[in-house]
């Protein structure tokens, strides 16, 4: 006798413990097995791109913090690089070092959050999460010293960073760097040989390299699939071309590889931070421009009327920027989630004419359906966690 069965459709989210925000997945199940998945977005849509059109170039920076709010530093960096490309300005060396240092600390923090929540999704009762967050807290404390904020940092500016690191930042960084290997080791001991973690993640949610490239997947997800592609290596921005680091690459592209690649990247990030700490030397942190040569300077906060001194005047990049009309730039960085890029178009005014955000989280979700169909509900949660999305960035 045949049992009459019918598929069940469940809305997972927008309020669900492990959709990492307000993602909604309309999932059709046959028993426990997934037949169809359709992600539904938009619950956190704030129209950042539209808002950016009504703010000047520096003000837009605060919007970028709110995109991927667990990795604000890299968002800042991507935006600043895009603006600098448009202006043809380059940040001074110390500014670049500080940027890379902050961005790498942020990458470590973001990957720790991703790892912690992945393990939380696996059902480990908050222990790995707390281990990860303990480490992340220390990094956020450093950010607080750098710029006074922990999450929405707004630390960088077009042309560098807004202020130099305070003197007590460096000893605090030293403390963290001394502690970090121990913290990482503890995390690895807890997770790497855990039979259940291995059973649950290995060979689950396998993403082939071809499929990853075709679907424009980037970041650790792409690298876990065996594609050695890291924008820090391939198109070095800031000072990445003078730093030594490896790009960890997975083999099969399953959940375990994604999770493992992130842990390895945390180690590499710490390595980069160490190099930055050792190589940085005094200097300006914000680009100065030749005030005579460029007509970038529109208003300089009361200084505009001052007569120009003799000889070339070096002035700090002003608050109000005005890139030439028709200029456009595609500034990208390797954010923790993947390739984060800002496509800026200028019409010569003080606000960007168009600010398109290429968000890695949204585009990485393209492969979701491919990864999930045929697997079980429990695997779905883990796979979603291993892609590491952030709804602030998906919906923007």
């Amino acid at each position: 006798m045949a049992i009459r069965t019918e598929p069940v459709t469940i809305n997972i989210g927008p309020q669900h413990p492990s959709t990492h925000g307000v993602l909604r997945l309309r999932v059709t199940f046959d028993g426990e097995v997934i037949v169809d998945v359709e992600p539904v977005f938009g619950y956190l849509h704030r129209g950042s791109e539209k808002l950016a059109e009504e703010r000047n170039y520096v003000q837009v920076l605060t919007l970028t913090d709110r995109l991927d709010y667990v990795a604000s530093m890299t968002n800042n960096q991507a935006y600043c690089i895009a603006v600098e490309k448009m202006l043809g300005v380059e940040a001074p060396l110390r500014g670049q070092y500080l940027r890379v240092l902050a961005a790498e600390l942020q990458r470590a923090a973001s990957h720790l959050v991703a790892t912690g929540f992945l393990l939380q999704d696996l059902g480990a009762l908050a222990t790995p999460l707390m281990y990860c967050f303990r480490f992340r807290e220390k990094i956020l404390d450093l950010f607080e010293m750098l710029c006074g904020a922990r999450i929405t940092v707004s630390y960088m500016r077009p042309g560098g960073v807004f202020s130099d690191a305070p003197p007590d930042f460096w000893p605090a960084l030293d403390d963290l760097m001394q502690e970090a290997p121990h913290l990482i080791q503890e995390l690895e001991q807890l997770l790497m040989k855990n039979e259940i973690v291995l059973v649950r993640t290995k060979n689950v949610g396998v993403l082939s390299a071809e499929s990853a490239i075709a679907s424009s997947v980037s970041g650790p997800v792409l690298r876990a699939s065996g594609v050695a592609w890291d924008w820090r290596k391939m198109d070095p921005y800031d000072i990445y071309d003078r730093l030594e680091f490896d790009v960890p690459v997975g083999e099969r592209g399953d959940n375990y590889d994604r999770f493992r690649v992130r842990i390895e990247e945390v180690k590499q990030s710490l390595r980069i931070v160490e190099q930055c700490r050792d190589e940085i030397h005094p200097g300006p942190v914000r680009a100065d421009v030749d005030a005579e040569a460029i007509d970038l300077v529109l208003e300089r906060r009361g200084e505009a009327e001052k007569p120009l001194a003799e000889g070339p005047v070096r002035a700090e990049l002003p608050f109000v920027l005005r890139p030439p009309a028709g200029a456009e730039a595609y500034g990208r960085v390797e954010a923790p989630k993947g390739e984060l890029a800002f496509y800026l178009v200028s019409d010569g005014s003080i606000a960007p004419y168009r600010c398109k955000i290429r968000s890695p989280s949204l585009i990485n979700l393209t492969v979701l359906r491919e990864l999930l169909v045929g697997w079980k509900l429990a695997d779905m949660i883990v796979t979603l966690g291993s892609i590491d999305i952030n709804m602030g960035e998906v919906d923007r």
């Binding site: 977005f41 539209k50 075709a214 592609w229 198109d235 595609y330 496509y343 393209t366």
Partner: protein
């Protein structure tokens, strides 16, 4: 470093295969006729010298007289990148050809452009609103959009 393939160089390649497809080029950008977009995209992906297998992003810019859809492409093989653009002159029903069949990664981005910019993509498998709800009046990313929501 990723080499930016200049529009002129790219135009040379495209013109060999599709003599009428290229509108113009300037700097890094290459403008393509919207009617040839899908075929050119396929060519860009499959041509071994170009090998643009990775679609970075699809953007749309509203220049009021026309819409411009911008494709940023990268070849992971040769580590070079290109910018391909197409202009749509209709204000009421701007329609471009969908490249989802060429690069599946364009799926959500084209839906987003359709939602926020009102550019529809011919041949997209699932073209519906992504960020806003069905029935939202207008397309907020357009320059002439006026907020009709009353609170």
């Amino acid at each position: 470093m990723t080499r930016a393939v200049q529009g002129e160089e790219l135009a040379g390649y495209v013109r060999q295969k599709f003599p009428d497809a290229v509108c113009q080029w300037k700097g890094e950008s290459l403008w393509i006729e919207p009617s040839d977009l899908r075929e050119v995209a396929e060519f860009l992906r499959d041509e071994p010298d170009l090998d643009f297998k990775f679609l970075n992003s699809v953007s749309a810019v509203d220049y009021v007289q026309y819409f411009e859809v911008v494709y940023h492409l990268t070849s992971l093989e040769h580590n070079h990148s290109a910018v391909v653009k197409t202009r749509l002159y209709s204000r009421e029903a701007p329609t471009a050809q969908s490249v989802v069949a060429v690069w599946p990664g364009a799926d959500f981005q084209e839906r987003e452009i359709y939602d926020l910019m009102g550019v529809s993509f011919e041949g997209h498998p699932n073209l519906k609103r992504i960020m806003l709800w069905e029935g939202f009046p207008g397309h907020p990313q357009r320059r002439d959009f006026e907020d009709v929501v009353t609170y």
